[in-house]
Amino acid sequence: MPRLTIDGKEVEVPPGTNLIEAARLVGVEIPHYCYHPGLSIAGQCRLCMVDIDKVPRPQISCNMAAADGMVVHTQTERVLETRKSIMEFHLVNHPLDCPVCDQAGECWLQIYYMKHGLYDPRMTDEKVHKPKAVPLGPHVILDAERCILCSRCVRFCDEVTSTGELGIFHRGDHSEIGLFPGATLENKYSGNVIDICPVGALTDRDFRFQVRVWYLDTTRSVCPGCARGCNIEIHTNRHRTHHNRGRRVARIKPRFNADVNRWWICDDGRYGFSAIDDDSRLTTPLAREGDRLAETTWDAVLAALAQTLQRYRPEEIGILPSPQMSNEELFVLGQLAAHLGTVNVDFRVPPATPGNDDGLLIRGDKNPNSQGAALGGLVPGAGGLDGAGIIAGAAAGRVKLLWVFHHDLYQSAWAETDVHKALTAATLIFQGTNTNRTSAGATLVLPSAAYAECDGTFTNFEGRVQRFRQALDPLGEALPGWEILTRLGRALGLPDQLYQAERAEQVFTRLAASRPSFGGMTYRGLGDAGRMVGA
């Protein structure tokens, strides 16, 4: 392993590590635009130059592999002057329209100008004009004048998605990013080019002009869109909702996880947050009064639910948990099912149209926690009915109480007539975040918090347990799913301390203690990257 010195600090790095990454290891940030650890080396922006002993001229650190005995200087007068010059070149033809640019506040031209530029502008001639506000696809819009031609977006489409929609056209200072003839930037990962664009050239058509980035709060979370469990940040706008069409979630950004999604997320995940602030959200507990569902209180609905559950024999109860639920929520439900003695439990509701794995990130299973539900044993016990059996049993009158979580059974692969027969024959309890055709027929409706509104964990398809964190207060009177169930436990008069839990973490601690494969896991121990089950 090469051992080198960077700004007087010695570091040993794996062979092939470039100087930018080597410097990071000793806490030295080398400014750069075109370099991205997930893409090939372009060496175009020329900003990352450093001095190396015994090398006559500054070298770009992105394309320089660390070598044994190398002595690197990132702060020599020559390097600092070079950075200043390169910043001036980057900005010569830039429109300097920060006041109307969505990137402002998270723009690397602004950041590096303040850190490494601070020259007096000398450009007094007409700047080069290029196309502005060019839609490249459904999500991405281009301002070619702001572009510094780092080619990250081009390389992303060439190397990560292999879709090759983008190129750099023309020459010299008329060079511009653009689509190849006939192409549209609509691959499944197109939004990532917005993240890796270091400037305001590629912005998000959904996000732009909605809210200034400095008004946003950031919460670490996990995408609930499929079984991959891509790590994300939820950017919320809680205090200036008039800036964002009333939406509290402003945008979703990927969060690096070397073992899950690296730097990327898919567009379905990125733009899949609209349900959180949608009009279809369930915000108060509801109880049936004849033809309609009337608003009620938590105390009333939980008391009604406890009574209902006690009215039926175990074999008359069928529970359909959801792989959208957190490990914590599933754990409490599993305990309750055990208490009730029902073995008719199955989280597996087949989707109407099965998805496909795309070989990159997207999984065919559109649920974040199927693995967690399976490990949690939310499947039929000995002699119990599976999902289809529960529906058939309800239709036949043998299963008299259906307790459904999140699912719209009408959207499943099961025949609509069978589902309808089952739902109308049995007493239906629904717990979920949004209304759907299934919830509309329920006797009791318990509104649960969306994933962005509570803490919890999902277990991805590989068995990685990952935390998501509360970014927002639950909408209306909605409660975290685990809390609805612990309150129900109390309504049932159960003495277990589990039902006194005040935080999801306490539920998780119980879960980890009761399941060997989760042995030793804690919220703190899961950290930002999660932990593998059984590891």
Partner: protein, 419 residues
Amino acid sequence: MTSEKIFTRNFHLKDPHTLGVYRQTGGYTAVTKAFAMEPSAITEEVKKSNLRGLGGAGFPTGTKWSFIPKGSAAPKYLVINADEGEPGTFKDRYLLERDPHAVIEGMLIAARAIDSHRGFIYIRGEYVQPWRVFSAAVREAYGAGLLGKNVLGSGFDFDIVVHRGAGAYICGEETGLLSSLEGKKGWPKIKPPFPAIKGAFGQPTIVNNVETMAAIPHIINRGAAWFAGLGTKSQGGTRLFSVSGHVVKPGVVEAPVSITLRSLIYDECGGIPNGRRLKAVVPGGSSAAVLTADQIDVSMDVESLAKAGTMAGSAGVIVMDDTVSIPDALMVVARFYAHESCGQCTPCRESTGWIYKMSHRIVSGKGRKEDLDTILDVAKRGAGTTICAFYDGAVGPYISYIEKFRDEFEALIPRDGHA
């Protein structure tokens, strides 16, 4: 001045581009000799000849060949740069049209030395006639068993692919050329890796100039010592000078590299016409720094011109008499570099256009006092910061024109120009 002619020895003959004439004058004897040599011995001979690349960079040819990894099983490519885009340079065109078989023979020998079985020649898109003539010569060579499988019964296979460029100056830069040859945008590649390790299509590659290739058969036939003896201590041979501008006899002149610029202009090209006075000379293509009339007693070899603060480059000698406005000349050159910058590296992309705008403003009478220092400072700051040598080439004229003829520029700037 009379001296030995190598490259131009057949130019006066009828149909010198044909195989028949080439063979009558001793052609394709060097390749037979080379095939009897060890490949490493060929490279050694070329090293000893002090042949330096005649495209522009002046890198020692034999040394370049020796960078090909020894014993590598990868296919190795020989790529001939016939893009000849440097303004003021037109000598490769003469070779392609009048002595194409010398280039082909040189390629065969070089291919043998580096163990390449496929050569490419990248011909400037505008060079229609040179392309036609060279292509015909390649067909003739195939017909005569000089190319293809088992060349001249030696067991050595070698094919030549003739490729035409599409009109970009940057495609004459060796790695820009390789990108273009690969079917990509003609962007120079970052180094390392260097082409000898990872060049065309990711394989070990040698890129040589047309004239460099044409020298090889003569070196093999007549020996390294003979070739080295024609030049200076550090550069052997003669070379072709493309002399243009204000001389009585412009054109391609072959002379030893040790000839002085004065002798080239006054003895070989008949001096300055119409009784005018010499004002400035660009000695090595537009990217070379300009020399003033009192700097022309310099020898035209690589080292002497480097010592004089300019470069031998492509040996494109552009002679300017006292009717030439240097600010105009700079504006024209700056426009060229702004137009031809590939746009890959930020300093070059942004400042070639900027400097052109400033130089254009100056000759339009709208210059500002600070413009000249801004151009000099921008040029110096950008120099040496880019992937390829294009920008350093642009900096040659930017700086030298202003530093050596500053009065002329200042005279164009209005007195009320901003301070």
